[in-house]
């Protein structure tokens, strides 16, 4: 069985880490362009910087948000996966217990059938003998009246 909770946790970390990497790279890029403006220091440099940083600045919030939402959603799924896998594990382990209880019951049934059969066999034999005894007693007849 795969470890879904662990897997979702790992995937959430991937999104979190990637989000952090993206943020870090963005900040680094931003600083780099600030250096350009600082060193170049004219309108061309500002235009160049704005032309490159503005699209990046517009792109990052949704990118960041999507990454963060994906990570959060996956974190929520970790709990669900734990509950799911916990329930599956209980089924897997207690299924054997049910089988064992059924086997025990079948074994007892087998014994019960044996004793039933034995009881019936003896009872039938005893009843037959009882009838023979009653017949033999009848065959003895009554004692004569002796004075």
């Amino acid at each position: 069985m795969i470890n879904a909770a662990h897997e979702f946790d790992r995937l959430a970390n991937v999104f979190e880490d990637n989000r952090a990497i993206a943020m870090h790279r963005t900040r680094a890029t931003h600083l780099n362009f600030e250096d350009v403006v600082h060193l170049w220091g004219d309108s061309r440099a500002r235009d160049f910087s704005a032309a490159n940083l503005t699209p990046m600045g517009e792109l990052m919030p949704p990118f960041n948000r999507e990454m963060a939402e994906a990570a959060n959603r996956l974190r929520q799924l970790v709990g669900e996966a734990e509950l799911t896998e916990g329930a599956i594990r209980r089924v897997a382990s207690e299924r054997d217990a049910v089988s064992e209880a059924v086997r025990d019951g079948e074994s007892e049934l087998s014994n019960a059938r044996f004793y039933c059969s034995e009881a019936r066999e003896i009872a039938a034999s005893v009843r037959t003998r009882s009838q023979q005894i009653a017949g033999a007693v009848a065959a003895l007849g009554s004692p004569p009246a002796i004075s």
């Binding site: 069985m1 795969i2 879904a4 897997e7 979702f8 999104f15 993206a22 790279r25 680094a28 250096d35 350009v36 060193l39 170049w40 490159n52 699209p55 990046m56 792109l59 949704p62 990118f63 999507e66 990454m67 994906a70 959603r73 996956l74 929520q76 799924l77 669900e80 509950l83 799911t84 329930a87 599956i88 897997a92 207690e94 299924r95 049910v98 089988s99 209880a101 059924v102 079948e106 019960a112 059938r113 044996f114 004793y115 039933c116 009881a119 019936r120 003896i122 009872a123 005893v126 009843r127 009882s130 009838q131 005894i133 007693v137 003895l140 007849g141 009554s142 004692p143 004569p144 002796i146």
Partner: protein, 334 residues
Amino acid sequence: MAHDPRVVVGILEDAGRVILRWTTEMESLAAEARASGTRALDTATETHRQARIAEQWANEAAQLARDLANAVDVVENDVRSAEAEAHSAVNEAQNAAREADQAARNWQAAYDTARAAYQRAVAAFNHARSEWEAALSNLGSARLSLDSALSALRTCQGRIVKDQNGRQVQPNCTGEQSAVSSAQNQVRHYEALEAQTQMQMQAAEAERNRREAEMNTCQSKLQAANTIAADAGTNAERSNDAVNSAQRSRVVIEDAKDASRTAIKMAAELTEFAETANQHAAILMQGASEMPQRAIRITDLSHQQTDLRARAQALLTELENRLRAFDNPGGVGL
């Protein structure tokens, strides 16, 4: 502020490369998001499949538990039937034993009575025989007496007696004659007595023989009755074995019922767990199914960097051209 053009160009070149690297990484992160989304969906699908398998296990376990419960019902009916048959066998065996015991007691009483009657008949016969023997002895004595009387009479009659005239006359044997008559009477009396006592002895003998036969019959019947009673006792004891076996089957079926109840209870719990697993697996599926869509949105965002990348690439090309101009005197500087 004046700077070395080469330094400025180098910085700009770095900036362009950073942009390029950034866009490349965004695409790489988007690709990883797609892979992660797919992986999440695969994981949820597998987990859901396992939850369904767990549900199937729970159903199978519940079916096993139901089958066992049904089998327990069937065997318990057998047990009830065996118990009833065993008790019926006990009752019949006890009735037969009581009848056999009663018959044995009756024949014992009959035998005791017959033996007493026989002993009385033996005594009566012995008495009759002694009576007859006495009569026979007396008859013998009477006959001897008669013989003596007859002898005396003949002796008397043979005597020669003469009267006063010298003539022979009949002797006077009146006494001897009387003795003979008396002896004859005695013989007849004892003959009659002997015949009577003999008849009585024969009757007593017949009675004794009849009583003996009667006693022997009773004794034979008594022996048979005792044998039957002993047999009936053994049979009654054996009927307890049937009850014991039925009781054992009752104990064992109660154990089987316990096991069945346990199996049903556990199977019900199993069903609950399986339902829980499926409910949460469904939530998992729903959540995971959003992931590929999120990955697509992330990918779409990364694709929006295309013009940024093109601009960075153009910047680098321009910078390379300018750097070449530095290296060629007379070229255009910054």
